[in-house]
Symmetry: C2
Subunit: 597 residues, 2 copies
Amino acid sequence: MPTYRAPVADTLFVLNDVLGYARHANLPGFSDAGPDVLEAILGEAARLAEEVVQPTNRIGDIEGCARHGDGSVTTPAAFKDAWRQYREGGWLGLAVPADFGGQGLPYTVHSAVGEYFSSANMAFTMYPGLTQGAIAAILAHGSDEQKKAYVPKMAEGAWTGTMNLTEPHCGTDLGLLRTRAVPAGDGTYRISGQKIFISAGEHDLSENIVHLVLARIEGAPEGVKGISLFIVPKFLPDASGDPGARNAVSCGSIEEKMGIHGNATCVMNYDGATGWLLGEANGGLKAMFVMMNEARLGVGMQGLAVGEVAYQNAVAYARERLQGRSLSGPKEPDKKADPIIVHPDIRRGLMTMRAFNEAGRALVLWTALQSDVAHRSGDDKERQAADDLLGLMTPVIKGVLTDKGFEHAVMAQQVFGGHGYIEEHGMSQFVRDARIAMIYEGANGIQALDLVGRKLALNGGRAVQAFFKEVGEFCEANRADEKMVPFTKVLKKGLNDLQAATMWLLQNAMQKPDNAGAASTDYLHLFGLVALGYMWGRMVKAAQQKLGEGGDAAQLCEAKLVTGRYFMERVMPETAAHLARISTGADTMMALPAEAF
Amino acid sequence: MPTYRAPVADTLFVLNDVLGYARHANLPGFSDAGPDVLEAILGEAARLAEEVVQPTNRIGDIEGCARHGDGSVTTPAAFKDAWRQYREGGWLGLAVPADFGGQGLPYTVHSAVGEYFSSANMAFTMYPGLTQGAIAAILAHGSDEQKKAYVPKMAEGAWTGTMNLTEPHCGTDLGLLRTRAVPAGDGTYRISGQKIFISAGEHDLSENIVHLVLARIEGAPEGVKGISLFIVPKFLPDASGDPGARNAVSCGSIEEKMGIHGNATCVMNYDGATGWLLGEANGGLKAMFVMMNEARLGVGMQGLAVGEVAYQNAVAYARERLQGRSLSGPKEPDKKADPIIVHPDIRRGLMTMRAFNEAGRALVLWTALQSDVAHRSGDDKERQAADDLLGLMTPVIKGVLTDKGFEHAVMAQQVFGGHGYIEEHGMSQFVRDARIAMIYEGANGIQALDLVGRKLALNGGRAVQAFFKEVGEFCEANRADEKMVPFTKVLKKGLNDLQAATMWLLQNAMQKPDNAGAASTDYLHLFGLVALGYMWGRMVKAAQQKLGEGGDAAQLCEAKLVTGRYFMERVMPETAAHLARISTGADTMMALPAEAF
């Protein structure tokens, strides 16, 4: 059975020593979670994730969800108690404003503990995750009445949320959607249509389910400009705000999927269901994107989280499994064989995963901090700069962390040899679960297009220029520090490749947009490498300083230096290959007629 | 439901136009399968694979295998008729010598059709595949009596074969194996022990199952030098050679696996079972390697085969699925949206898979031809050269084609978006099935070590030098051909990177073997890129010649030029990254103490 230990010490190192969490004490919520409280929160989340949530992961995969004749859906039996404890701990409303029943703590803290829960059980953690996304959309675009009616119930986990975008013929291209909304004359709408792939669409964990549904109001313009967002609760709130009459929405079936079996993926049928407009008519896409952006960061986190737990189990197996002898002579001569962690190729896998995970964690937390600054700072300029970075990093985190999280789950499975392929050890589940994160909330190809086609040019390239400047200045500022040179030299090379690729896009994609599409995925990963490399630069710098000061963190800091060096030596060389591919453009890629394939 | 079309035209192009199949007519067996017969055989195999075997793939995944209370195992119901037709077509014994009931045709032809069957149903095709491996081992090491008793029955598929290596504590490191063999005094042995992960260990397709079992004869030396190979049939042959008394071997359980559900993966218990020594006492490893090497080529083929069928289904979906508009303006303005094949990032996936699959097919067939020459040529020198290349390419084909085959199944699944994640479309199955090929028959890390630690230095590096010479001369010979320059230039650059990596190993791995281990996987893939790039060079050359001659193959040849260019532009840049990683050595990788992970 797989195990899990939340990386609390690493999270604290990143927050306190690398990102200077304490410097943000002036932002609302941060003073409620000063260093001591932060450590206590992480510790408590770790305990819940390790002892309560993680043990439900494998059995949840086996049992899965079931739809019954009456359209009801049951989740794995073990989820009930875990859900109760998760709710009672107040984890769902951690970062929700206190006015709406939450604790108002930083989004950064929410992100830090979010990793632990997703590592412990990704399918389970989707239930609160989707609810948090729906809360964000209601808070951003709902009326005061809507906020009051829904958010407190959702923040305590009494009600959960969903997002309803996809239809059978309509995935990425939301302009094609057909679900209809007809004004009922009383301010409500009658919603009719079918939505598919609705995670947590129907289940037995909460008293009510708040569906956020994209639909087209009668007579609305065609395409994405005619889409509106609606709140469609499973049970209509009664006069006292409790679940009342059943709404005309039901689960038609649940999908048989490769993984995340513990989460019910539903076909939802809306048969004239009552819905309330959320935000403006025909402004649904904008409103949905609040939820979507938050969800994309959450999905990126899932990639990291599953990669991390898979890595931990690979380490444990590599330490235990005796097979063969070290190439440099027996390491445990009293045993029949050495543990396989002595073999360089096993190390290669472990170090690759470790180097990525630690930088990924830093990138997620750094970006979460931008989100807090963007939403809570009183300084306009600071807020704008943070919001720029948040928007820029969202597709990078979603795309890169999920592509790599999956790749690393596969790598961890490989460490187990044949034992990784049988379901018993749980490594197959990590691979099957991680796979969806590359697809949902906008397939990674869409993330790449978002970065290249939107984020890059936004406001005259302000965000990307600021990022290049920050990374460049970091390299420059550490040029005189000879212990930093091995790191900054490689980082600078990566930045140069990224800037060259950006320049190539500026020169070649304007007149020929296919060149942007042809470059997009390579550009996304090139960007990710530089962002992760920058995180390594900052972590190494912090580790060197901490080591200089002495203290009890020596082992963690020494390991940081080694792991950072590994990232520079073994991961960063990929930037040149990405640049080379980008520079070849779209001509060859697009040359074959469709029928020649 | 997924579909499949066997790539007969491409196979014929590679065999006839690229590899000069007809030039080998002097080798035994080749004259029985001249160009016309070859085409007829491929066509008939294609029909069987497409119409009979492929339709059993998805239902075989769903139904899986079941073990019953009496230890018997049933395969998916649909497999029975497919197996009957496969047997009746004589496909199992295609390349088995006519003296032993086969057709004695070239191994090259066997490989060509083997791809089709593995694409159609990988789990199903493992039953004959393992049988063919067992036949090879018996032919190479068996006594005349053993050959006569087993091979004809196996060549017609009345009996099937297995290979029994792995034990719970003993996978890669066969020296640890504990299964015992005690001489019974009558020339037979009593075999006792437990074997795990035995593919096709017990099933209902054949009348008898011939287990080849590694075991340790009482008093044998420790480690791999004390291992012998035994023939242990499920039913002991009676006086007339038919299945007689039940042997003391039974299936204790079957594994629940990530994929290849149609193939029974068994725990096999040997309780004093009667066995016959195959080959020499304590020479088991050598005997098993005959089977293993053949199996490794077969597994590499599986990677290619699943990648190919996944690619084909991604193409079909990309042509059909309407979503979004081309970046260069609507391509099908009369429809609500364009087919997604117009989007560059979708093309990127399709072209990457295509460029790899076509080169992979060529590499497999080129290597199969080496096998035929090595085994059938009358010329010692020619035989040795071919055997050198065969040995060199075996780990490359196994490791690279399975790593990439899996990666491409994932890529193909991604084209389907959310529809790829649900089991209904069959894309998940391709991913789950392809995953095992990276693990069994020696995990890919072991293939990399075989290449770097054994094959490279064998006979003073004779094989690798010959390969470098061949590729170098190809580049040189085409230097004056300006249409070839864009290809040979990139190929030469890749060859230079590979030679530099080889030189680095020579200089750094002798005194420090960990440097070889640390380089191994990158070196394997670097080698694979150059080998595949060389295949592209030769395919492009052949296509250009054929285009110059006119004729009806223009579309195929034009597509070859485009696809070859794509490989050079988009895939080959990776060689530099591999070289950069290799050159960093083992120091950082090995620096952390095991307990620091």
